[in-house]
Each structure stands twice: as C-alpha cells, then as structure tokens.
Amino acid sequence: MSPEILNLLLKSFWETCYMVAASAILATLVGMPLGIILTVTSKGHIWENKSINAILGAIVNATRSTPFIILMVAIIPLTRIIVGSSIGTTAAIVPLTISAAPFIARIIESSLLEIDPGVIEASQSMGASPMQIILKVLLPEAMHSIVLGVTLAIISLIGYSAMAGALGGGGLGDLAIRYGYQRFRMDIMIATVVILIAQVQIVQSLGNYISSKLNKNKM
C-alpha cells in the first residue's frame, strides 16, 4: 500500500473519529435533558405532565422515524446557518447530532424508568426535591445502563457517519465507497472495513468495561 493511500486512510480515520466523537458528545448533551424530561413527566413520576410528555415524545418519534439520509438533506439550511457551510466533516456533525439525540433521549429514558420506584419513594420520604432525585438518585443509579446505551448510540453513529460522505463529510465509510467500491480498490475496501470493525470493537469493549465498573448491583 502506497504512502498516499496510508495517509488517506489515516485522514479518513481521524475524520470518522472527529465526526463520531463530536456528534456523540453533542447528542448526549441534547439527549440527556430530553430523556430526563421524558422520564420525570411520564405517568406517576415525580413531575408527571401529560402534555409535555406527549409533545416531546412526538418530536422524538418524528425525528427517529426520518431516514438519516433524508434528514441530512432536509436540514441542509439549518446546517448552513449553524456551521456556515453544508459541505464537509464539520457540517456532517449537525445531522448526525440531530439524528442521534432523540435516540439517546429514548435510551436514557428507558434506563431511568428502570430505577425501582421504591428508591424514588424512599428519597421523597427523606425530603429530597425532584431536582435532587434526578441528580442524586436517578442519574447515578442508572449510569451503568446509560453508558451501555450511549455506547450503542456511538456505534450506530459510526455507521451513519459513512453516509455523511454524501455531504462530502469524509471519513472511512466515504473512503470505502469512493475508492473501494467505485474504483474497485479491494485493498482499500478491506482496510477500511477492518478499521471500522476494530473501532466498533474498541468502543463496545470500552463501554462494557465502564458500565461494569459503575454497576454495583452484582456481588
């Protein structure tokens, strides 16, 4: 493999890492509060509110049901406002974040809903405020499960980031399509796929490790 190709691989690798990391962080920052609000406004929870829950739930579902490739094109104007351009790696972060945030919101919601209502009741009996319950009970108790969920989201972001090539987003997926598929470069195809597999493996193992460190439910 020539040095140019290696450079290309390396550059694409970093692009993927950049897109995935940035959008994962941003999506978590957006998805976390959404997930928390979805949880606490649900029926019988500490801030039960039917209308907020229904509206938020509908928005989340709508975003989640839009195929990524369509979402990406549909929000080009928004991307242009935020990033200043609709093409390039940074521009790809906007649709990636918007598609991952509701996913993360649902993942966090389901993790938080798993917390035993008895524990929440106990905290209330000690005089904890709803905010204290969120910060000191719900989030810490669910953290190990949230970590696994975010890991899942990161892995699907790695997959989506390949599609971001359509916006000139770059990354390994883009490289595989342009060189491996369109120019019949089997070696590049194999190299990118191997790197992607390794990336997913590492992310999953890291997620599992952190989650098991946080999980105190086992002996």
């Binding site: 008895g118 009741e121 209330q124 108790e141 105190k216």
Partner: protein, 345 residues
C-alpha cells in the same frame, strides 16, 4: 405526636374510584410503638403513607408534631419529612452507594457538610452493628443487613418518628426477631415514636404497645396490644390472633367424639388463658383439692405479649356433674379467660 382527622384517600381510575382509606381518625402519642395490622389490600400502606404525605389524602387533616402537614406547601413538606424517618419492605437502598453513603444520603440532601455527616453516620453504623460493612455495597449484604442500613438511614436526620412499611415481611423469622429487637431498642433509647404496618401478628405481638386492625379502608378495632389479644371483638382480629395463639386442638382431641352439651359421664374440655400475674397462681392444684375433680392437662403453652406473660392451658375435667359445675364456676370467678370447648364422652 401523630394525629389523623377524618383522613380519606380515594384513587381515581378508568375503572371507577377506589376508596382505599375511609374517614380515619387516629392518635398516636410520643414514644409509642403503634402497629397497624391488616391483610393485603386493606389500606394499611395507604394509611402509613398518609402520615408522611407520600400519598396525599383526598380529605381530612394530618397533624404531625403539632404541625398540619395537609396545609403545607411542597417545600415545607419536604422539610417536615426530615422529621419522619421511613423504612421499607424491600429496603429501597441506593445500589450504587456504599453502606456509609446510603446512610449519609438524607444528610447530603439537607446540605450538611462532610465532617458533620461523618459525625452523624459513624455512631449510626455502631448502633445498627454495621461498622465493618461501611464500604460494602447493598448487593453485598444480606436482607437483615440491608434493613439495618435502612434503619440507620431513616435515623440519620434525627427524626422523632419512624414509619415502618412491612419492614420485616421480606426477612426470615430469625432476622425479623433481630430487627424487631433493634427497633425496640431505638424506641427506648431515642424515645422514638414508631408506627409500623404489617400482616404478621408475630411482629405486632413482639413490640407494639397499641394496635389498630384495618379492613377495607376502615379501622375496625383499636386498643392496647393486650386488650386486643385477650379480648378481640371482630372476626378479623380473632383470625389474626389465632395465627399466633395455638388454638388448633391436638389431633387426638379433634377426632374424639365431642358434644356441645353435657352428657352423663362426659368430661368438659376447657381452655384457660392466663394473663400477667394470674399466670403464677396455683390454679390446677386448687381445683383438684377443693372441688374433688381430676384434671388432665392436654396442652399448655406460655408466651408473652410485649413482655407480659400470657399462657394457654387446655384441660379436661373429670368428676361428677356438680363438682365439675362448681369447678368451672370457680375458674370463672378467677377472672380468667375460660372457654368450654366441648364435652368429651
């Protein structure tokens, strides 16, 4: 210390309204251990949760320590709850916190600083006997140890009242005993008012001063443990009491032909209940000496209710009719609780 005035709770659902608690009045004094016993679904959970307003009553007043909780705003209510500790059937500990941090939790909520928290938590670890477990996580503890953490956590903010929601129902008999001992101990030591709900008569018998029996959202009977035990008024109460008071007749007697009325030559089967001091009287020998009857002891048992001895004796009296009659009269005069079960021929 705790007063419920006409407290009611109705749940609304699609399938109609459920009145979990009907107009309930209750007074519990300071330092008392008060038990509420009832079958599942009787409303005891709702009742105990109305005391700290985890369930908001749909009517009536809840007054705790002179303050009306039902008139408070949320923030005031949270403050008031720090005065009321609570422990639960399933412990409800925070799984990701150590024993120490679980006990520290209510103090953290109050915004107490780390050193102060340490000063409160350390003695509590001693009190519940978990000093060597302070860095363990709940998953590493046995049920009894978890409940001890629950108790320490409930006591952390120095409450005047402790509510126990089926606190021993998930524990084995031995552990139940040790938890009840601990509750009795802290009741005495800290002059803590304890309210407990349970479906286990054994628990009530062991530690309660006064008891209320609840059925279908209504308190059907209320009194000192002793009155309730020796003189139950309602069928439900009798049922509960029979669960610990061995009223089951021995097989031999049960299968023997027995009549309700005296027949020539039959022998009455009598159950005597001794309470307190009378448990010490030389009753049987008096019976034999003075009334010229034979007494055959079939079954005997001595137990205690809240440290007062309470005995049951099942005897068969043999003799001629007149002697038996006077003997039974004598027993009645002794202010014993006696019951003629039947006549064995």
């Amino acid at each position: 210390m705790i007063e419920l005035q006409n407290v009611e709770k109705t749940y609304h659902s699609k399938h109609g309204n459920v009145q979990a608690l009907k107009k309930t009045n209750l007074k519990i004094s300071a330092g008392e251990i008060f038990g509420v016993i009832g079958l599942s679904g009787a409303g005891k959970s709702t009742l105990i949760r109305c005391i700290n307003m985890l369930e908001l009553p749909t009517g009536g007043k809840v007054i705790v320590d002179g303050k009306e909780l039902t008139a408070m705003k949320n923030s005031q209510l949270r403050k008031a709850r720090q005065n009321i500790g609570m422990i639960f059937q399933h412990f409800n500990l925070l799984a990701c916190r150590t024993v120490y941090d679980n006990i520290a939790f209510p103090l953290e909520i109050q915004g107490m600083d780390k050193n102060m928290i340490k000063q409160r938590v350390e003695p509590l670890l001693d009190l519940v006997g978990l000093k060597d477990r302070k860095n363990h996580y709940p998953a590493q503890l046995s049920g009894g140890q978890k409940q001890r953490v629950g108790i320490a956590r409930a006591l952390a903010s120095n409450p005047k009242i402790l509510l126990c929601d089926e606190a021993t129902s998930a524990l084995d008999p031995q552990t139940t005993k040790s938890i009840l001992e601990l509750l009795k101990d802290i009741n005495k030591r800290l002059n803590l008012t304890i309210v407990l709900i349970t479906h286990q008569m054994q628990v009530v018998k062991e530690i309660c001063d006064r008891v209320a029996v609840i059925e279908d959202g209504v308190i059907i009977e209320e009194g000192t443990m002793f009155d309730l035990f020796t003189n139950p008024q309602t069928p439900t109460t009798k049922e509960f009491i029979s669960s610990i008071n061995n009223v089951e007749l021995p097989e031999i007697i049960k299968n023997a032909p027995m009549s309700k009325e005296y027949l020539e030559g039959s022998r009455p089967l009598v159950r005597l209940s001794f309470i307190g001091d009378s448990a010490g009287a030389p009753l049987i020998s008096t019976l034999i000496k003075k009334y010229d009857v034979d007494v055959n002891i079939i079954y005997g048992n001595i137990d205690s209710i809240k440290e007062i001895p309470y005995g049951t004796l099942l005897i068969e009296i043999n003799g001629d009719r007149e002697h038996i009659k006077t003997a039974i009269n004598y027993l009645h005069e002794r202010k014993l609780k006696i019951e003629v079960i039947g006549y064995v021929s």
